[in-house]
Amino acid sequence: MRRAILLTGLLLLVMAVPSHSANPGGKGEADRDFACGGSCHGDPGLSQPSSAVFAFSTDREAAYVGGPISVTVTVSQMELSDLGLIGLFLLSDTHGVADTPQDAGWTILSNGDGGQTNYVETHVIDAEGGASITWSLLAPASEGDHMLHAAVHHGGGGDARMAVSDPFEITVGPVPENMPQMLPTWEPLNARGLGEESSLSLPVVNATAVTLEYTFDGGPIAAIDATLENNVWTAVLPASLSEIDLQYRIVMSNEEFTETTGWISVGDPEKAGFSADLTAVRLQSIALMFASLALCISVQRRMARPKAPGLGEPIQALVSADQTDILAASFGAPTLNMADPRRPEGWTDEQWTHYGTAHLEQNYGGVF
């Protein structure tokens, strides 16, 4: 009866485990392929369908080789989990691997959330309103029609869900002669701490004037002229004194053209700018291992030392080896016979040596 109750209880516990969506807390912003490293939602093929609807928009009709363009992806009408968290991808294909925009030659200047990743997580309050993410990009080095896709991972109804957009075409044309350009080697500022001024070095070519425009919380746009020194344009982005949404962009102009990068968001450095020296961290880990091991072994050896003789007890060292042998031979403890028929079946020699005496005393009244 007891066994039946135990088995029933265990069975109920196993059946009580709910099927949950994968990673409801998200995976964090990063550069992720469509297959999400095989671990985000287990596998794209295992996710349930989503009712998400995608819409693309850009800040210009076409781009040129290496030129800026901002792509905004709006996703709405999706099912939502209790957390309301969604993960939005910008992709160059849906192969599953090597399909980020960077793999196709695009440069991500900003993901609109203080980073430069193709995968962004955000919370959605209302599925109808959805969420919009704007990626500020530099076009690839090859002319032609380039496709971008968006995909969304989210939960809803206890399941992991995902959807992929139709391809969105962007035409990349030749660079107009004498067009001011930001070189793809530029590493934009995406994160910084409060109260820090930032000096930006801007590798701009074909420009006679460069201006840094910035806005706090979508307010009025302020502008600072960059200065040219030793063929490098430099501008200083003022410090922000509170946790406020700061965006900036670079306006490059000459007598013929005026060109503007997309808006670049500056985020929290603890979120986007964390970077540790991995070699130092590994050394610290090794130090912890050695130190903890040294402590363990030290205590273990100390505890395993034979006790020092107390007052009145004869010191073992004063007893000669010969006398000890004689004493041991005359009055030594009875030894165990390894072939003793009372030895339990399956006991190894080591177990019999250590536990045999206790076993015989417990069950047979002694060794003899």
């Binding site: 490293g37 957390l83 130092a280 961290v281 177990q351």
Partner: protein, 192 residues
């Protein structure tokens, strides 16, 4: 091809399973030291099971660390940095567990102080492994079962120690270990 993260999840399950088994059998063996409710055969079995489960867990720790390292960029998150640090501590403690049982032999359970120390060490090693699992939960699911306790650390910040200080710490700890290994008198197996 299976992703490193999948192999990491698999090896972690093996590790935690064997560690849990080692902790349970160790605690039961400790119980036998303080009571007479457990028979002789069970005592032998519990001791052996705890020992071999600890050895298996020890073998699995480096595999879990390597696959975990291959699954993500540890330098990009304070949580992952703490994971790397705690992995070293976990490995040190479990080597200590196996070393202790091997040095003292199966009769360590006849001395209460040793039995308590050994069980405490096993529990400490398991606690560190639980913290590592908790960080994994925070990374993948955004929450940890440890939150039920209310006092469970989230490891959202990691120590910032430079390369020079790190290598100094590593050398100092290595010297400490060498001193213990070669200068401290060796322990003897416990004789019942």
């Amino acid at each position: 091809m299976v992703a490193a993260a999948t192999v990491h999840a698999f090896s972690t399950e093996m590790l935690i399973g064997s560690m849990t088994f080692a902790v349970l059998t160790t605690c039961l063996r400790l119980l036998a030291t303080f009571t007479d409710r457990i028979g002789q055969r069970a005592e032998v079995g519990l001791d052996a099971a705890a020992f071999y489960a600890a050895i298996f867990a020890l073998v699995m720790i480096p595999i879990v660390a390597i696959t975990g390292n291959a699954s993500g960029n540890a330098a990009a998150s304070p949580l992952l940095v703490n994971k790397v640090l705690l992995s070293g501590l976990c490995l040190g403690l479990w080597i200590g567990v196996v070393h202790g049982r091997r040095t003292w032999g199966p009769d360590l359970w006849t001395r209460r102080s040793m039995a308590l120390f050994h069980t405490g060490l096993v529990c400490a090693g398991y606690g560190v492994a639980a913290m590592l699992g908790s960080i994994g939960g925070l990374l993948t699911r955004g929450e940890t079962v440890g939150d039920i306790l209310g006092i469970w650390p989230h490891f959202g910040a990691s120590p910032t120690i430079g390369f020079g200080m790190s290598i100094t710490l590593a050398i100092l700890s290595l010297m400490t270990l060498l001193v213990v290994l070669f200068l401290q008198p060796k322990g003897e197996p416990v004789d019942a």
